[in-house]
Every structure is written in structure tokens, then in C-alpha cells.
């Protein structure tokens, strides 16, 4: 019975998920920029993040955090303070929770740390980043790094991220997949997508 209910809930959730085909070619992100993808992807928005996948989000995903403003979290759902009961806050009973926020004066190391801390919250698993180095995003000086974690499902995953701070906003593109197969299979496609990023107004 529990299995049946779980399956029904899963089907219901899948039915609600507005996946849309992203055909190979140019893809525009309103107000932020565009990329060129060599292959088709499936797109759905999660919170403020554009997410792409080929075989399913648990197998591989490409995520676009575009235009994160000063003082904001990487995703709205990570802003725990916004969910505090205002009455409790008024009486000084603030829960012992802080959000990890982007600040426009952050250095590359601090942004990588913001990313791993945020991802650790999302995955509920320790996320470890390595290999921070200078890189280019859409013609702007930025950074890239690799990351890895073992999720609650006990599957090892690897990822890479490329980012830059432009006009006080953070632009971060990352790709993650199962370490055993999916990461390597489409890494080159993901690298080409990240390398093709063009900021809006630069066409």
C-alpha cells in the first residue's frame, strides 16, 4: 500500500513538473544572456534557477544561477530568515539559523565557499570543492572549480562550476552528474555550453 501511494505521489509530482524540450542551438535567458548548446536538453525552472537535464535530475543536471544580487542567496529557498515568524522576530526569539548569502565584494574563494555551503544545505551532505583557478565567463574574468559529494542516496557525484561577478551580480553555471557514468558522458557538452555564455547586450 505504501509503495502504491509513493508511486502515485511520484507520478503526480512528475505530472506537475513542467519539463520542456530545449533544442540544440541558441538559448536565451531573459535579461541575463544566452548560450549555445550542441545537444537537446530538458528544461525546468526550480526556484530562481534554470535547470537542464538529459536523463533526469538525479543523474545529471546543468544549473544556471544568473544575476544573483548583493545580499541574496543562491536560491530563494535557501533564504531561511525570510521564513521566520515575524512575531517571534519582534520578540527577539529569532531561530538560530543563518543563510549563506552572496556579497558583491566577495573574493573567488569566498564565492566557492558560498557555493559549497549552499550545496551542502541542498544535498544535506558535505560538498567539497577543489581546484579553484582563474577562468573566463562570457568575456569577463572569473573563476572555475570542481566539486564532489555523496548524496543522501549514497551515490557519488562530481561537478564543475564556472562563474564571474559582473556589475555586482553573480553569474554561476555548474554541471553535476553521477561520478560513475553521467558526469563524464556529457561533461564536454556542458563545458561547451558554459564556454558559449554571452552576457545580454553583448551580441
Amino acid at each position: 500500500m505504501i509503495r502504491l501511494v509513493s508511486l502515485l505521489l511520484l507520478l503526480l509530482a512528475a505530472g506537475c513538473t513542467p519539463y520542456r524540450l530545449i533544442p540544440a542551438g541558441k538559448v536565451e535567458f531573459t535579461d541575463h544572456g544566452s548560450v549555445e548548446t550542441p545537444i537537446d536538453w530538458n528544461w525546468r525552472p526550480i526556484d530562481t534557477v534554470h535547470t537542464w537535464t538529459l536523463d533526469g535530475p538525479n543523474l545529471q543536471e546543468m544549473l544556471f544561477h544568473l544575476g544573483i544580487e548583493d545580499g541574496k542567496t543562491l536560491m530563494n529557498a535557501l533564504d531561511v530568515e525570510s521564513g521566520f515568524n515575524p512575531l517571534l522576530v519582534w520578540f527577539g526569539k529569532v531561530p538560530d539559523e543563518v543563510s549563506f548569502r552572496f556579497h558583491k565584494r566577495m573574493t573567488e574563494h569566498e564565492i566557492m565557499d558560498l557555493f559549497t555551503a549552499s550545496m551542502s544545505k541542498i544535498t544535506e551532505s558535505p560538498v567539497v570543492a577543489s581546484g579553484l583557478m582563474p577562468a573566463d565567463l562570457g568575456g569577463h574574468q572569473g573563476f572555475r572549480f570542481d566539486y564532489a559529494f555523496v548524496g543522501k542516496d549514497e551515490v557519488r557525484r562530481r561537478g564543475f562550476a564556472v562563474g564571474a561577478v559582473v556589475k555586482d551580480k553573480l553569474y554561476l553555471i555548474h554541471y553535476v552528474g553521477t561520478a560513475l557514468y553521467h558526469y563524464d558522458r556529457n561533461r564536454a557538452d556542458a563545458e561547451r555550453v558554459a564556454a558559449s555564455f554571452v552576457f545580454a547586450g553583448k551580441d
Partner: protein, 389 residues
């Protein structure tokens, strides 16, 4: 109030339910487990063990298991010191979970969470928790709770099935509350028994019995710092109130004769660099006040002060309220001056100095970072700062 037909149907349902159980037994006054014990395959206890054997299989090969030899050797040795003849029946696993907890399953699987190890200042404090868990195992508390829960649920189901009339809803709710409170009280009695037995086991093994209350004092202080003072609920709390546990453990420790020789303390050597990775996991949880209390305590007690100062700096830098950057910088500087500074502390100073436009000072610390960590995987980025890009 109860019709004859409803009573008969309820009785049949209850008997039908009983028929599906394996051979069971009493929920209280069970004999202690014997060394090398295996349950009767037809018993409900065997079913419980079978389920937990499967959990243990997963735990054994889990990527979340910490396989570091020194800490695994230490906890295995401690379990054997504490459990004596039961040593071959108990199998400890160190698991990377940043929370204060340890468990002992009835089949002998002991899980020790990394958040517990981080909070133990001495081997005696860890022995206090392991002794408590072994106490649960010896007294077969899980089996007792399983049977007690089943007895109460069966009774409540039978009782509720018979209820009719306008007051039925109210009485049904009341019976659920009473059932829950009974289960919680039963569990709290087990915790008290495991506390007393754990203290006896660890003191007999040569550990300092005062450590049992000390570790709970740490947790109480963290709870208070996090605004969660004494979370006790008569109906739901499966453990006694922390204050009660501290008082009881202090009293039991006072009754013990003085130790003949100092307690062993191999914990800090065995944890080594793992402690810093546990600190990193801790700050990722986003609990500012609680974590600040923990790290400040570690610094004060001289438990890896270099690591604790660095991560306290990270905690403040991440929060980034007015004045936090200065506190972070102070902690990074203090970490740099300890006997075993983390390389990242030099980088932390460099990063903040760089942001403040103190370029030369920043570069000095970046150079020190590379001297301490010449193979750092972010070397290219650091060299970019040094080259003036």
C-alpha cells in the same frame, strides 16, 4: 456503550493481529543479553535483528562511513574495554553526520556520529556515550520498547474499536495521548538505566566518571546558546530532561571511589585532521550561535585551537553582519599564531586584506599560505593575486 457484536469483532481483530506476530515475550524484566547471544529464529527478536543486519550491511559499505584507521582502531578498543566479554558481539561504525548522536542496535551495531566525536573533549567523554549505548544493548532495551509499543498499540486499537457514542472521539484522543505518554515514559526509564549502567561500565574500565555529566553540560550550553533551553515534553520526550541527567550522573560519579590511575586519553591523537573536517561540516549547518558556543569551548579547552579559531573565523565571515569581518580576521590571525595553524587561516587573512585594499599585507599572507601548502590546488588563483592581476 459497547455492543456485543462490536466487542466480538474487536476481539477477533486483536487475536488475528496476535496471530501474525512471531513468537513474542514480555516487554519488561527481560534477562540481560548473554555474551555470544543469538535470538531464537522464530522469535520477534530474530525479526528485529534480521532487519538491522540489513541496515548494517548498508552501513558497512556506505560512502558516509569514516574508514580512517586510527579513529576506528580507537573506538573498537574502547568498546572492548567497556564491554569486556561482549566485545566480539559489538561492531562500531564511525559515520559522517554532523550531529550529536550515537546508537547501538540490538544486533550489536554501534553507530558513532562525527558530530559526537567533535564534541568530545576527552576519551572519557566518548567512553561515557559508548558506555550508555552498550548499556542499551546489554539490557535489550530495543526489544523491550518494540514489545511495549506493540502491547500498547494492540490495547489502544481494541479499546478504540469498541468506542461508540458522543464521547467516543474525545476518549479516542485521550487514549492516544495516554498510549504515547506511556511509551515515552518507558523509553525515559531505559535512558536512565543506560546512563547508570554506562557510567558504571566506563568507570570500571578506568575512565573518569565525571565526564558523563560533563558532555551533557556541553550539550545543555549549546542548546541554551541556540535558544533551545530544556526541550522536555512529558508526552513526547523519549529522553529525560538534560538537567535531570546531569544531576543523576553527577551523583552517581560522586559515589564512585577515586580512580587508581589517570584515565587514558587517546582521542585527540586518533581524530587528528578529521576534527577539522567535522568543524567544516558543523559550520555548513548554518546554526550560528550553537556553533559559536561549540567552537569557543574547543578554543578555551585547547582542543585543536588552530582549527577551531579558523572555523570560528569562517562562521563570522559567512554571517557577514556589521563587525563580523573584523572578528573573522582576528580569529584567522589568532589561528595563524597557534602551534598547528591550518593553511587556510593564512589564506583567510590574505582574502580579507585583499578585499580591504591592503594589497601588500594580503600578498604576504598569500605567500605564507603557499609556503605552508605548496601543493594547494588553488595555487593558480593565489598566484594571480600575487602577480597583481
Amino acid at each position: 456503550m459497547i455492543s456485543r457484536r462490536a466487542f466480538s469483532a474487536g476481539l477477533l481483530a486483536c487475536l488475528g493481529g496476535c496471530a501474525t506476530h512471531h513468537e513474542s515475550g514480555p516487554s519488561s524484566d527481560l534477562p540481560d543479553i548473554g555474551a555470544g547471544y543469538r535470538p531464537d529464529p522464530k522469535s520477534d527478536e530474530a525479526g528485529l535483528w534480521l532487519k538491522l543486519d540489513k541496515v548494517e550491511q548498508n552501513q558497512r559499505r556506505s560512502p558516509g562511513r569514516i574508514r580512517d584507521k586510527p579513529i576506528n582502531d580507537l573506538v573498537q578498543d574502547m568498546v572492548c574495554r567497556l564491554a569486556g566479554a561482549y566485545c566480539p558481539d559489538l561492531r562500531p561504525y564511525v559515520i559522517r553526520v554532523p550531529a550529536f548522536n550515537a546508537t547501538c542496535a540490538p544486533n550489536g551495531m554501534i553507530s558513532i556520529w562525527s558530530g559526537l566525536l567533535l564534541r568530545c573533549h576527552s576519551e572519557s567523554q566518548l567512553a561515557a556515550v559508548l558506555g550508555h549505548e552498550i548499556g542499551h544493548y546489554l539490557k535489550r532495551h530495543s526489544l523491550q520498547r518494540l514489545r511495549n509499543s506493540r502491547e500498547l498499540d494492540d490495547f489502544a486499537a481494541f479499546f478504540q474499536f469498541q468506542l461508540q457514542g458522543p464521547a467516543a472521539g474525545l476518549i479516542r484522543g485521550l487514549s492516544q495521548d495516554i498510549t504515547q505518554a506511556s511509551k515515552s515514559m518507558f523509553s525515559r526509564d531505559h535512558e536512565r538505566e543506560a546512563d547508570a549502567l554506562g557510567l558504571a561500565l566506563m568507570a570500571d574500565a578506568g575512565y573518569a566518571p565525571a565526564a558523563c555529566a560533563d558532555i551533557w553540560r556541553h550539550i545543555k550550553a549549546e542548546d541554551a546558546a541556540g535558544g533551545e533551553s530544556e526541550r522536555f515534553d512529558f508526552f513526547l520526550s523519549t529522553h529525560p530532561a538534560t538537567t535531570e541527567r546531569i544531576d543523576n550522573l553527577d551523583e552517581l560519579a560522586r559515589r564512585r571511589p577515586p580512580a587508581a590511575r589517570p584515565a587514558p586519553d587517546r582521542l585527540n591523537a586518533a581524530l587528528g585532521p578529521l576534527r577539522r573536517s567535522f568543524m567544516a561540516d558543523e559550520i555548513n549547518q548554518g546554526h550560528f550561535k550553537r556553533t559559536d558556543n561549540l567552537l569557543t569551548r574547543l578554543i578555551g579547552d585547547g582542543i585543536d585551537p588552530g582549527g577551531a579559531l579558523f572555523y570560528r573565523g569562517e562562521l563570522y565571515r559567512r554571517r557577514n553582519r556589521d563587525g563580523d569581518e573584523a572578528i573573522a580576521l582576528g580569529n584567522y590571525h589568532d589561528a595563524c599564531e597557534t602551534a598547528d595553524p591550518p593553511a587556510e587561516a593564512f589564506r583567510g587573512v590574505g582574502t580579507i586584506r585583499w578585499r580591504r585594499g591592503e594589497t601588500e599585507l594580503a600578498r604576504e599572507y598569500f605567500r605564507r599560505y603557499l609556503r605552508v601548502a605548496p601543493n594547494a590546488d588553488d595555487g593558480d588563483m593565489i598566484r594571480k593575486y600575487l602577480s597583481g592581476a
